[in-house]
Amino acid sequence: MGKEAAKKGPLASRPDNSAFMQQRLPAWSPMLTASTVLPFLYCMAALCMFLGVLLLITVEGTQEMKMDYTEAGSCNDCFKFLQNVINAGKSCSCKVMIPLEQEFKGNVFFYYGLQNFHQNLRKYMDSRDDAQMVGRKYNLKKPSPYCEPYITDKNLPIAPCGAVANSMFNDSFSLWYHSPSGPIAVPLYRNGITWYTDENVKFRNPYSNQSLAQAFNGTTKPPYWQQPVYKLDPSNPNNNGFINEDLIVWMREAAFPNFKKLYGILKRTKEPFTNGLPAGNYSINISYNFPVQHFNGRKQVVLSTVTWFGGQNRFLPIAYLVTSGLVLLMAVILTVIWWKFGRNAKNMEE
């Protein structure tokens, strides 16, 4: 097969002698032999073990405090208050106590959590209009049909439209540290809690050379909301409209019915919070507005620190350790079997 014949004359239609056409491409033919599989398994076991231990140590280094406030403390009253349909939409304030037994070092994050709230229902999830929320004038006035049934209210287009925005979580919190010298308000950053891309690309206010209210002229607020979208944050005029960070956080729908969302980040500029949250007693004043009793929901607040690995979730470290054990077990079993049966390649004889 060595010599190439010219493509003329008697051998004109002879196929080319290329490795590809003759299926002789150089190739590596791996086979699952003991010398590759067994060492590989042991290495895997070791790797998983290492990762498991490493992650476990990391996770143990984070602190987390969860507090279900649905019916806790004085919020019980609010819970009952809102159960009464007459009071829907009215405000109620309450207070819960949180003891921190250990100091929370470093950055501390404040989350609110909801349980049993299905942000992942297909119809619910679809009920939004990204084109509207990126500030397109056309879509502002003519929201997508997906927003059904919150497209218009009294013939005015709703901004932001859809079920997601309409059901936005509207409890608000203030955290107090009960220091020996008296209660101190814990300062929280209320911005910087969203993804950069969401804040800067995905959500934009409709353009107007006058005020923000002007930009939203001709639209109406979602029915469940107390305030129109351009008045969401009275304290910070730049945090209004579609780029309100709480709204953005809410609009990033959770994958599962139990979720938590970032509410604020500890401002570590002043004592005694420069190192984080000191141990001691804390209380949270809650403006209790969000009704959860209809769907058996629960509400929580979560205080947590993070590491490179994120928060305090022990699933992965434990899963790695379990996997490591499994792999090791398999490796040992296979080694024994190989030693007894396969070592001399007797089975490989015809």
Partner: protein, 1203 residues
């Protein structure tokens, strides 16, 4: 083949009788007979799109996707955007349509080639050159030598004496000898007188078109007389005119109504067994899909009742909707979401893979025949993997196993053998193309193509050894060959063997020159001698011998006899005992070499005895009663006390490498059946010489009964011989028990090897419904089966029988038109190409030039294709099931609301882009071991026959594996992500991040899984796998980029998700963990099976690994000489009755005219003797069969390890 009403209309008014009038187109037109054009194509330019779409939407998967598309339009149901279905569907339809279009264009081209052949037609008293397709019933056409016969014709007149024409019917029935057809005297008288022919107004009434090749009835009404017409006056399309300058014929049947086309059978669309399995699986998948959707719909109903109604405050329902309606809609929504269970891209991928593997066949150099410059060709691209599952091969003999060339190879004269070549040390040498050839230049009349290697024979002839001279004198006298002297001497022999013998005698100086009914003229060593021919004792099958009685110029009366050795030996004079023993020994040797032998004997006849004998002979031959028997007795009386001269050995040249191929195939557990139109003896002999029948076989049964009872009895005997322990009553179970649908007849385990030979008559009975199963059962217990004297239709019937009851994959291989029906009937049809007459090839699925390429087609290409297809299917189902099942698990967390786990773009592109190339790489490049090892271990082929690589079990394993993988792929990201946050404190548990994580995990896992499947990692595979992963990330980042979002915010709402998710270490740790968890069980399972229960593949792969440094062990020398004692095979294959023609009183030798017409007559045949046969004499590479081209084709297995 044709559409709309055309066939149907014709079907309806089925003609019962055909009427036509010569030269009267108007009259004949009234009957609307088919013209001579043929049409095998399906579409034309305008019908293509509608017809093709119509056909494509007959495929259940396409309809299903259309249905999905409709579902997606309903807003309440639509759970996915329309493009997820439309994009793949359009792609699939387009690819298939493109393929169908190219196929049909090829068919058009073929049709045109045949339809546009030219023939001379008599129109308005002039001969015009017309295209075949324009020839009409009732036309008179003129044919010349070596032309294909245009349509079914009534022979009117010919150039030869007695209005004879010679035709070769090999294309039709596979018989190699020339046949004679004779025109009616009344039409023959017209000769080539154009005006008389143009005035011919005979009317023919004959049978309607049918497929019986050997039968024709009709009458010709000419003048006031009626003449009856039979098969002997008909020239059928598909035959070739030979040795006849010209002839005129009247077209009776044209195009689709010719017997050839009627015999072709229907063009069935062939599907592979994997296709059938896939259809079953798809239906099963539909079931599973419905079940899953039902479970989820019920889940939705429960959820709506328990939870959903409370959630309406955030997500109000339509007023009238309730839980039941929601559940109903959810069912259909999930039908859409889970549609990936029935993968539409599966069918496209399968087509692409088959196409790729077909190209490999086209490209294979080792299946390229240099002599005829023909590469192998995969003519259909849909059957590749079936090549890896063949269990039964049905082979034609002539032209397929044999070259159809007879050569005088050896002889034994007076106890001395000639023909072997010895070297200086006295060792026998193998004859090859370099061996020195005997120089026949002393003889000016010698045939230049004849070659002989043993010089001693020619020496002995020249020395004038009387026995040697007598030997060749016999060969020159005792035959029925006719000589023709044009520019050079040419012979017309009815059987190729006789031709070979007479040619041998010619070269050794005993040249047969001419004959008259009373005399034979030969040139004896340069001297012309005229022998008076006194009687011919003709050949028949019982006598197995023929004799002539001649009076030499010297006045000596001798009888020369040649025949089967056993027959001759019985009639020898006792004095020949010693010589007989020696000759017997030599004959054994010849038979051991697979040669066909004839014993030659003579005796001098006493004048007085002769005259009385002739007297009685005359009486007997004119007797009205019992003529045959009386003649038989007379012949017996004459042929006694013969003196043995010697024996000839003729080689029926096998194609190269046939015995080795058959041996290899039998090692691969493939059963070989030879179906031939040839005689039993010939077929049997070839069976031995090509290793099909073996000396070691316990017994070779011959079934040749003439009544159903005889056949049944013989079959029964064969059965009891093979299975003596079985009770007689058990032998034949009632058919009702066996022919239950779906139950294949199991192979019986037989100790010892057996062969079965059955002839056409018996086969007709054996194929009858009442006996078919008995026959099949018996035949399948034998290692080799030979059916001889079978008609094309019987060939197909045999194939159908095996197909029907054995549920095994069958392959038919042949080269002539007589094989077409069988080629079409079998699962796979293979045509031998490179010779003239492409009938078989054009209806075949694969074609190549040499039989021996079959082993490469099956053992290498077929096996690889099957392996690849199975790997592909297993992997494909795995990846799609895994993909889909994750949705199922997610349903339990999203309130069964038909929310998808992945991004819609991922769903659209997963099959088409992200995973398409790696799996194609797997299924185009994978090989377990290379071709050398495949040949080394033919048993690697067996798993394919047993469907071991892909079956329902394998499918369930895939599904289970997918179930496991999908659990891992859903729950590990769920556990890892549901209660954590990013390392900057922002939340991570959102839907979009989860989608990206899960889909990345899925893709990585699926790629790793693929890598475990790949046994042959080429660079391309690596590029495909790595490239696909890279492409995934590139496409994902692009889709989730700012630009795309701003382009269409609602379609690309995943903006930034990739960036924000994939920069998290715990995401990558999750991906790593899912991969490990998914791969671990596979790794362990594979390793365990290799260690504990290695398959034959594992074993050979292991060996190949071990031997990687050293080349594989050399296979033993191809074939040893058989020490055989069998020699029933005698060289005689022509029919009885030629002797009568030769001695016919009417026979008048016309002086040979050198044709003055412009047509050059038979240019090639003028050079020398024509070996009578299909491939001989007129092939464009005439002579190439004898003079081998150097440097090509090493025949043994060694050819596969030259590189």
């Amino acid at each position: 083949m044709s559409f709309f009403g055309l066939t149907w209309m014709r079907e309806r008014e089925r003609e019962s009788e055909r009427k036509l009038r010569a030269n009267d187109r108007e009259y004949n037109l009234a009957f609307k007979y088919a013209t001579n054009g043929i049409k095998t194509s399906k579409y034309n330019f305008f019908t293509f799109l509608p017809l093709n779409l119509f056909e494509q939407f007959q495929r259940i998967a396409n309809v299903y996707f259309l249905f999905l598309l409709l579902l997606q339009v309903i807003p309440q149901i639509s759970s996915l955007s329309w493009f997820t279905t439309v994009v793949p569907l359009i792609l699939v339809l387009a690819v298939t349509a493109a393929k169908d279009a190219t196929d049909d264009i090829n068919r058009h081209r073929n049709d045109n080639r045949v339809n546009n052949r030219k023939v001379q037609v008599l129109i308005d008293g002039k001969l015009c050159s017309e295209r075949w397709m324009d020839v009409k019933v009732g036309d008179i056409i003129k044919l010349e030598s070596n032309q294909f016969i245009t349509a079914d014709l009534l022979l009117l007149s010919s150039s030869e004496p007695l209005n004879l024409v010679y035709i070769e019917t090999a294309e039709l029935d596979g018989e190699t000898n020339l046949k004679v057809r004779q025109a009616l005297t009344v039409t023959g008288a017209m000769g080539d007188d154009i005006s008389r022919l143009a005035g011919f107004n005979g009317e023919v009434i004959c049978e309607a078109p049918n497929n019986r090749l050997d039968h024709f009835t009709g009458t010709l009404l000419f003048g006031d007389h009626k003449f009856s017409l039979d098969n002997g006056k008909i020239l059928l399309r598909g035959c070739t005119l030979r040795n006849t300058h010209w002839c005129y014929g009247l077209v009776l049947f044209g195009g689709p109504e010719t017997k050839l086309m009627q015999n072709c059978g229907k063009n069935i669309f062939k599907r592979t067994s994997i296709d059938h399995l896939m259809n079953v699986l798809v239906i099963f998948i539909f079931g599973v899909l419905a079940l899953m959707c039902a479970v989820l719909a019920v889940g939705n109903w429960l959820w709506e009742i328990n939870k959903g109604y409370r959630f309406t405050i955030f997500l109000p329902r339509q007023e009238d909707s309730n839980a039941s309606l929601s559940a109903f809609l959810t069912f259909w929504s999930y039908v859409i979401i889970l549609n990936t269970l029935v993968p539409i891209s599966l069918y496209v991928s399968v087509e692409v893979i088959r196409l790729g593997n077909s190209f490999y066949i086209d490209w294979d150099r080792k299946m390229y025949d240099a002599r005829s410059d023909t590469p192998a060709e995969a003519r259909t691209t849909t059957l590749n993997e079936e090549l890896g599952q063949v269990k039964y091969i049905f082979s034609d003999k002539t032209g397929t196993l044999t070259q159809n060339i007879m050569t005088f190879n050896k002889c034994t004269i007076n106890g001395k053998t000639y023909g072997d070549v010895y070297n200086y040390s006295g060792q026998r040498q193998d004859v090859n193309e370099h061996t020195e050839v005997v120089d026949f230049s002393f003889n000016p009349l010698a045939d230049t193509k004849f070659s002989f290697h043993d010089h001693s024979l020619v020496e002995d002839v020249k020395l004038g050894t009387p026995e040697v001279q007598g030997f060749f004198r016999l060969l020159a006298l005792c035959h029925t060959v006719m000589a023709e002297e044009k520019n050079e001497l040419a012979y017309q022999a009815q059987s190729p063997d006789e031709g070979a013998l007479v040619t041998a005698a010619r070269n050794f100086g005993f040249v047969f020159c001419s004959r008259t009914p009373e005399s034979i003229t030969i040139m004896e060593m340069g001297k012309q001698q005229r022998y008076e021919l006194l009687a011919i004792l003709d050949f028949n099958n019982v006598r197995k011998r023929m004799s002539v009685i001649v009076r030499s110029p010297g006045g000596r009366v001798s009888l020369y006899c040649k025949g089967a050795d056993t027959v001759i030996f019985e009639r020898l004079h006792p004095s020949c005992r010693n010589l007989m023993e020696v000759t017997t020994e030599h004959l054994n040797e010849f038979a051991g070499d697979g040669l066909r032998t004839l014993a030659l004997a003579y005796k001098d006849v006493d004048e007085e005895f002769l005259s009385s004998w002739r007297q009685r002979h005359h009486e007997a031959s004119t007797a009205l009663e019992d003529r045959e028997a009386k003649l038989e007795l007379l012949f017996e009386e004459m042929e006694t006390d013969l003196l043995l001269l010697g024996a000839t050995a003729i080689e029926d040249k096998l194609q190269d490498g046939v015995p080795q191929t058959i041996e290899q195939l039998s090692k691969a557990d493939i059963k070989m059946w030879v179906l031939t139109g040839d005689k039993q003896e010939t077929a049997e002999n070839i069976g031995y010489s090509c290793n099909l029948l073996r000396e070691e076989m316990n017994e070779v049964f011959v079934i040749s009964g003439n009544t159903p009872d005889e056949v049944r009895e013989e079959l029964r005997n064969a059965w009891t011989t093979m299975k003596p322990d079985k009770a007689e009553g058990m032998v034949f179970l009632p058919e009702s028990l066996l022919s239950k649908r779906g139950s294949a007849i199991k192979d019986e385990v037989v100790t010892g090897e057996y062969g079965l030979v059955i002839n056409g008559n018996s086969l007709a009975y054996a194929l009858d419904d009442s006996m078919a199963l008995d026959f099949l059962w018996t035949a399948c217990m034998c290692q080799a089966v030979i059916c001889c004297r079978v008609t094309p239709l019987q060939k197909a019937q045999v194939v159908e029988l095996v197909k029907k009851y054995k549920k095994a994959v069958t392959l038919a291989i042949g080269d002539g038109a007589n094989d077409v029906s069988m080629i079409k009937a079998a699962h796979i049809g293979v045509g031998i190409s490179g010779q003239e007459g492409m009938q078989a090839v054009s209806s075949s699925d694969y074609s190549f030039a040499q039989f021996r390429f079959l082993q490469r087609l099956l053992l290498v290409h077929g096996r690889w294709s099957y392996l690849r297809m199975c790997k592909f299917l297993r992997y494909f189902f795995y990846k799609n099931f895994t993909f889909t099942f994750v949705h199922f698990w997610f349903a339990f967390f999203c309130g069964f609301s038909a929310q998808t786990v992945y991004d819609e773009w991922f769903i659209t592109l997963y099959n088409l882009v992200y995973t398409a190339l790696p799996v194609l790489g797997l299924s185009l490049f994978d090989q377990d071991v290379d071709d050398v090892w495949s040949f080394q271990y033919p048993q690697l082929y067996v798993p394919g026959q047993l469907n071991m690589y892909f079956s329902k079990t394998a499918f369930f394993k895939c599904a289970l594996h997918s179930g496991f993988s999908s659990l891992v792929l859903f729950f590990i990201p769920y556990g890892a992500m549901s209660d954590t946050m990013r390392n900057d404190g922002k939340d991570l548990g959102d839907y979009q991040s989860f989608a990206v994580i899960t889909q990345t995990c899925l893709l990585v896992t699926v790629c790793i899984q693929l890598s475990l499947e790949v046994a042959y990692w080429t660079t391309v595979n690596t590029i495909f796998v790595v490239g696909s992963l890279v492409m995934y990330f590139v496409v994902t980042f692009a889709m989730y980029s700012n630009g795309m979002f701003l382009l269409s915010p609602s379609s690309f709402s995943f903006i930034g998700t990739a960036r924000n998710t994939l920069n998290q270490p715990n995401v990558w740790l999750t991906i790593l963990l899912t991969s490990i968890m998914c791969v671990l069980p596979v790794l362990v399972y594979r390793f365990l099976t290799i260690q504990l229960w290695p398959t034959v593949n594992d074993k050979v792969m292991f060996k190949a690994r071990q031997a990687k440094a050293a080349p594989p062990p050399l296979s033993r020398k191809a074939r040893m000489r058989r020490g055989s004692s069998r020699r029933s095979g005698y060289a005689f294959s022509h029919a009885q009755g030629y002797g009568e023609l030769v001695t016919s009183r009417r026979f008048l030798r016309r002086p040979t005219v050198s044709p003055s017409s412009g047509i050059t007559p038979m240019k090639r045949s003028t050079t020398s003797f024509i070996p009578m046969g299909r491939s001989a004499g007129y092939s464009p590479t005439a002579g190439a069969h004898n003079t081998k081209v150097p440097d090509v084709e090493v025949t043994s297995l060694q050819m596969y390890r030259t590189t």
